[in-house]
């Protein structure tokens, strides 16, 4: 949440895999933030061109949309690392430690499976667009494999971060669901 003074971060301990994934997710987070800032800039440029110069805006709307999609997808692993994806932790809180750990392992495994599926079909969709040379049906005519690339990249990185979180719970580097013991 904005303005919060402290941000929870998934602990990595001394595990090299966890450290590498954490670094990768952080890099992805920087890219995501950068894309949001660029989208702000392009939108303001578009308003300037149209309102002040009374000129045509051909590519801006599309570019901003694709940047925002990419920012979302590429930002997923970073937000996962910052524990920013909201969940309902009522039942995990009520469970004793052993059961809580088992539930965390189960949910992380199923999450990884669904994200792996999104990665696989996302890759197929991207490949389809690449193979057939699809373009957007606008004057700008973007080659669609470029924006679609965000699907396999974003879900791939999120999968890595989820697997790292799973490993951290199994190795007891991180507490299940990041919850304090009671």
């Amino acid at each position: 949440m904005s303005g919060q003074t402290t941000v929870a971060v998934a602990p990595v301990g001394n595990n090299p895999f966890l450290r590498a994934v954490a670094a990768l997710s952080t890099l992805a987070g920087w890219c995501s933030a950068a894309m949001i800032v660029i989208a702000v800039g392009i939108t303001c440029q578009m308003i300037f061109i149209r309102f002040v110069l009374n000129g045509s805006t051909v590519w801006q709307t599309e570019a901003v949309i694709y940047l925002m999609i990419a920012a979302t997808l590429v930002g997923l692993p970073y937000v996962q690392r910052l524990r920013g994806h909201v969940n309902v932790d009522l039942i995990p809180l009520a469970l004793p430690m052993g059961a809580r750990r088992a539930l965390a392992i189960l949910t992380l495994t199923v999450s990884s499976a669904i994200v792996a599926m999104m990665l696989w079909y996302g890759y197929e969709y991207w490949h389809f667009a690449w193979d057939r040379g699809w373009r957007s049906d606008t004057v700008w005519g973007v080659r669609l494999w470029i924006p679609y690339l965000a699907l396999p990249v974003g879900f791939g990185l999120l999968l890595l971060q989820l697997l790292a979180d799973l490993l951290a719970v199994i190795l007891k580097i991180d507490r299940p669901f990041g919850l304090e013991e009671h």
Binding site: T57, D137, G141
Partner: protein, 305 residues
């Protein structure tokens, strides 16, 4: 057998009625064929329908074929300024060798046409009429379709791209000076409350958009001969209805705008010719450059009397 049809229109739109006629006729034929209609974007967004259709994940759709112009550049000819003169000309066009060529392209994507149909549209100006090329310079304009954007930019307009649903607000706040869209959108989005002048499609009209009812080819071929016959019979009835309603929509938009006190100004033959020359230099040229066989397809379309 159950077939799923997706479209983006409301229940009282002519394109929904076309789909409904086909569905009703198929049901009435008693050949174990039910068409389930998912209207009003309830299943797919408008531009997301062609891909699932071509991969067999969706059975049928009614959509502007030019939406898939990024996948098959040839489809851009179905929304090209000045290519269709009026609805009767459009009816001849769909039976021509030009359409046969397009259907070959569709077959490449495992798609075929059940019901052909064109809808027309016009121009509206916030402060004055948009009939001739000379009306365009400096105007912030929303154009429906890539080829129109290229042509209007060629006439000196500034292009602002937005959905037709945003025209009303954009005109109200002054973001937009002029707009080009279909007759039915002009009416359903109540654009007559915001403009001074309307140029409806009449004897001369630039804007015709091909919006067929499509079916996945493999799905169709997997049906029994009786089911196929029932669909074809329904489609024939629907196509006749579609043509009549398309003409009525243009007349209706003219009536609604003039009753709302908006000035009506038709395009003259000379103005139309000037637009078409401009289109040849801008949109036709760009189309031929980016489309394999583009010149051949364009010539076929222009050859239809």
């Amino acid at each position: 057998t159950e077939l799923r049809l997706s479209h983006q229109w409301s229940n009282n739109d002519v394109r929904h009625k076309v789909a409904q006629i086909v569905a009703d006729e198929a049901a009435a034929a008693n050949v174990d064929l039910e068409i389930k209609i998912f209207g009003g974007k309830s299943l797919f967004k408008p531009r997301e329908q062609y891909n699932p259709l071509s991969r067999g994940q969706l059975d049928m759709t009614v959509l502007p074929l030019s939406y898939a112009g990024g996948q098959q550049p040839a489809y851009n000819l179905t929304l090209m300024p000045g290519l269709v003169k009026n609805h009767d000309h459009a009816a001849r066009l769909v039976k021509s060798p030009f359409m046969a060529e397009l259907e070959k392209k569709m077959a490449e994507d495992d798609v075929m046409v059940l019901v052909h149909g064109y809808l027309a549209g016009g121009f509206a100006g916030k402060d004055g009429c948009i009939t001739s090329i000379d009306d365009m310079p400096g105007k912030q304009t929303r154009a429906a379709g890539k080829a129109f954007e290229q042509m209007l930019a060629g006439a000196g307009a500034s292009i602002a791209s937005m959905a037709s649903s945003e025209i009303y607000n954009a005109m109200q706040t002054g973001v937009l000076d002029a707009a080009n869209t279909s007759s039915s959108s002009f009416v359903s989005y109540r654009i007559y409350e915001q403009v001074a002048c309307y140029t409806p499609p009449g004897d001369f009209a630039l804007w015709f958009m091909y919006q067929p009812l499509l079916v996945n080819k493999s799905t169709f071929e997997a049906l029994t001969p009786e089911q196929q016959a029932a669909l074809r019979a329904g489609a024939e009835k629907a196509q006749a209805f579609y043509l009549e309603e398309a003409k009525k929509e243009d007349a209706e938009s003219r009536r609604v705008f003039s009753e709302a006190g908006v000035e009506i100004d038709d395009m003259t033959a000379e103005e139309f010719e000037a637009w078409r020359e401009l289109a040849a230099r801008t949109s036709y040229k760009a189309f031929v450059e980016e489309t394999p066989d583009g010149q051949m397809l364009l010539d076929l379309a222009l050859a239809v009397e």
